[in-house]
Structure formats: structure tokens, C-alpha cells
Symmetry: C3
Subunit: 216 residues, 3 copies
């Protein structure tokens, strides 16, 4: 199980680092900013998970492979950005693959550290979406995951498969593959068909409420 977690983690690291580097390049950060955003987007979810379950130092800090991989991804984007920046689909597909790999790896690690099933599933989701949230906060945006198509829900579904599989004592490699496939499939379908979660209806006097609220 340890090897599986590691492999998923490293592949996911590369694809998420690509997404961080893309966002940084689009905002015209310098090469240092691009490399930091690569590392942050790739590892924040896992680092926060590790801090929360008490696994210090986090894998992304003690194992230099995460740094090498995310730096590599950052350099790829930095030098080929004019070409890659034109493509929209590859980025979304990379991102979906990273999400699928991370939610599964995160849930498995949380189970290894003895968390309860529901919390293990949520930490799996957090591992998947945490990097993107940190990336968006550092670039001063409201995290896309909070108003995007089905994204966090796909991660939660994938992580839940792992947790349920663990409770039923199914083979871990099989449930990991199933969870990742479910998450990836949901995410691609959401992009393809434009699935969204509902938002709250506005109160009738919204504008006025906002005005009052800002006075606070």
C-alpha cells in the first residue's frame, strides 16, 4: 500500500504542479513565483493533510522528490508557456487526473494514520483540492473550487470509494483504481456537460444588504 500511495502522489504532484505554473505564468509572475506556485499547487493539500494528522515533517518536505518533480513541471511551463497557454483542454484533463490521484492517495494515508472513515474521506478530498485553494489564495482569487463545476464532489466521491473499500476489506489497489476512475470520470463529465452545483437564491434586497454589510 505504501508504494501505491507514493506512486499516486508523485504522478499527481507533476500534473498539479503544471496547473500551478500555468496560473502563475498567466499572472506574469517571475520564474521564482512560477516555481513556488508549482510547488504550492502540487503539495499544499498533502502538507495540510500531514500537519492535521500529525505526520511531521510532511512528506513533501522530507522527501526531495516532490520538489524535483514540481520544479521540473514549473520549468516545462515556464519555457513552453506560449505554446501550452493556448491549450485549454490538456490543462483541465491534467488537473482532473491530479485530482483523482490525490484524493485516493490522501484518503489512504489518512486511513493508515487511523482516522475515522468520514474524516479520512474528507481529508482525501482536502488533499485533492487543497493545492488549488492555496494556489488561488496566493494569487488573490476566490478559490475556483468554491464556484466551479463538480470538482470537490468528484474528489469526495473518489475518496469515499477508497474508504468504503477499506471498510469492506477489498483489495486496496482495486479500490484505489476504482476511486480514481470515478473521480476522473465525474470531473470530465462535469466539464463536458457543464454540470454545476446550485447556489443560494438571492434575497430580494441584495444590493441594500451588501451596502449595509460593507459598513460593518
Amino acid at each position: 500500500m505504501k508504494t501505491l500511495v507514493l506512486t499516486l502522489d508523485l504522478v499527481g504532484t507533476f500534473v498539479f504542479a503544471l496547473s500551478g505554473a500555468m496560473a502563475a505564468s498567466r499572472r506574469r509572475l517571475d520564474i521564482f513565483g512560477v516555481l513556488v506556485l508549482s510547488f504550492v499547487a502540487a503539495t499544499s493539500g498533502g502538507i495540510v493533510r500531514d500537519l492535521l494528522i500529525g505526520a511531521t515533517p510532511p512528506a513533501a518536505i522530507s522527501d526531495w522528490r516532490y520538489l524535483v518533480i514540481s520544479t521540473l513541471a514549473g520549468l516545462v511551463i515556464f519555457f513552453w508557456y506560449p505554446a501550452i497557454g493556448r491549450l485549454r483542454n490538456p490543462v483541465l484533463i491534467f488537473d482532473g487526473a491530479g485530482l483523482a490521484l490525490f484524493c485516493v492517495a490522501g484518503a489512504q494515508k489518512a486511513l493508515v494514520f487511523g482516522l475515522e472513515p468520514v474524516m479520512a474521506a474528507l481529508l482525501g478530498m482536502l488533499t485533492g483540492i487543497g493545492g488549488g485553494i492555496a494556489r488561488d489564495v496566493l494569487l488573490s482569487n476566490v478559490p475556483a473550487v468554491f464556484r466551479s463545476d463538480i470538482y470537490a464532489v468528484a474528489a469526495l466521491a473518489g475518496a469515499s470509494v477508497v474508504v468504503i473499500g477499506d471498510a469492506l476489506q477489498l483489495p486496496t489497489t482495486a479500490t484505489a483504481c476504482a476511486g480514481a476512475a470515478l473521480c476522473f470520470g465525474l470531473r470530465l463529465a462535469a466539464i463536458r456537460f457543464g454540470w454545476h452545483l446550485p447556489t443560494a437564491r438571492a434575497p430580494e434586497n441584495e444590493a441594500e444588504t451588501d451596502k449595509i454589510d460593507q459598513g460593518r
Copy 2:
């Protein structure tokens, strides 16, 4: 003392989760975003406190009740937002009550973990204001607490009562109630009478300084 901390924590969780869900609904986040903001606003202060004092995994992660309560609050807001969004006072009062409960509970937990009195009071304050700061940062706002009416100061006052009471070996339930009442009273009075903290005077050539500074 443990039961008292837990009770304060759970009630405070609910009221702060309401504030997070309100802010998220106002920014038109989808239902997932609303539930995350509920959880973040309700638990970030406590999670950061627990990470800082080394109490991993934090209570909000290992105890599923926090999640259930914050999700419940998020759903209440999500479905009733048009009605609740019109009300300003209830939200501010909820928020003040949450602040009072959290600063007291946070200070007590820090004392239980053996921190020095001054730091225990500050961690109590952080427990109270941390959730609101995380909520505002995720929504890409400057945290309201940094330029609001008396808010953090009320939390610090409440937490200080607990710490001083502990040093004088007064009964903990009594000092907890006194601390929460002081914080809540200060906060309501600040809203009612528009109390503010002073801001620094501007230098004469402010505009020019800003221009230079952005060039940096």
C-alpha cells in the same frame, strides 16, 4: 472543565458556521462552497490553535460533531438565505456570541496544554477571530477584524478573564461565564455605539508614497 470546553466549542461552532455560510451565499458560491466556508469559519481558529499547541489531530478533524454541526448551519443558511439575508442584527449577534464562546474555550484549552498566561490569552483571542480571518481570506477580502469596531479586543478581554481567573484559582465555570459575558457585552456595545480603534495618521505625501511603493 473538559465538558465545559466541549459545550462552548459546539455552540460556538454553530453560530460561526452561520456567519461563514452567510458570507459565502452573499458571494454566490455554490452549495459546496457554502458548506466549506461554514466549516472553515467555524473551525479554523480552533484548528490553528491546536496545530500551534501540538494537539494533533485537531479536535475539529478527529471529532465528527464539528463537521455535522457546521454542515447543518450551512444547510440552514443555504435554504433560507433569502429570508435570513435580510436580517443584519441576528447575524451580528450570532457572531458576537460565537466570539465570546470561542475566546473562552480557546484560552481554557491553551491553559490545559500548559501555555504561559499571556500566550494562552492570545490563543484564546486567535481561536475567536481565526475563523473569521480564514473566511475573509478565502473570499479574497482584507479580514474585517483588522478594521472593524472593537472585535479582537473584546475576544482578548474575554480570554484574559479566563486566564486571570485561572491564575487566581477561581472556579473555572464562573470565570468562563464572566469572560464570555464581558466579550459579548463589549462586542454588542461596540456595535451599538460605533466604537472604533484609532488608525495611524496618514503622511502628507501618501499618494506619492503609494506610487513609489507599488513600483517595488
Copy 3:
């Protein structure tokens, strides 16, 4: 070595707190906001480093001197802001000195906790730049370090001197001074001569890409 780390830490704390208080005053935060930003800018880098290496509670929480020093710096700025706000160079020089002191102190602490050399150098850099990143995120700005002149690179260079010196078993005080001098010198030269890191070239259809991307 412990005394050296502590001394560097405390002096660096003061100068970084000045930078946080300046930024907060410029954004017209109240005195509480100014004091929080002083503390955050001065201690976030070290707090994150300590959380990552598992040194809880972080020094900035368990040792009240950091709080006293950063509060003092905040008060100095708060009351003398009209005078100090006019000066640009002193702030940048303070900031450079803080960076030099923190990157060296951070790398040494990471080595004491047994991290690998490359990660110790990076944690040294993080100790130096983390406070500024937290300050900018709280004020809802994209961190200046991501598109500034040579800044993080200077911190990385200073931290690397410490790590290399440790590997070669040179006397720690000497390597600390050399590392701090290198970082400080690089930083001042970057300001003086306007050195910048390169940014990625824009794709030809940038505007269109942005539009698509925001629809996501």
C-alpha cells in the same frame, strides 16, 4: 549555536515587524490590525517552519519575547507613521536585513532538527520570505516576493551558505555571518541596479485564454 539563532531571530523579528506595520498603516488598518500585521509579518515564516519540522509549540508562541518585540515595532510605526511613511530606503534596508537574518537562522534551525541539506536551505528561504507572504495575503495582495526583484533568491543564497558551511564543518558563526552578508548584499544590489528575474513570455492569444479561463 542556540544563542546565535536566538539573537538573529529577535533582531530579524523587529525589522520584519516594522515592514508589516508599515503595510498595515498604509492600508489604514486600526491599531489592532497594525499590531497583528507586525506579529504576522515577523513570525509567520518561523511559525510555518516550526510546524513543518514538528517543533511545536513554535518558538514565536512559547517565547513571549517575539510578541513584545513585534508589538514594540508596531507601536513605533503606529505613532511615527507620518514621518516614517515618507522614507522608502530605510524600509527596504530594514527588510533586507530581516531577510538576511531570518534565512540564516531558519536554515540553522532546520539543520538542528536533522533535515536534509536541500530542504534545510529551502526552509531557511521560507523562514525569510514566509512573513512577507502572509502579510500580503492578509492584505489581499499577490505576494510581492513572486514578482519582485531578486528577493527569494537572495534568501536562498544566504541559507545555502549556511547549509554548505555545515556540510564542510566550518565554524557556524562564520558561515552565518557570510550567509547573512551574501543575502543582504544581493538584495541591496538588486534594489540598486533593478535586477529582476525573467517572466514567461505571453502566448499570442493571451486575452482570449484569460476569458476562457475565467469561465471555468
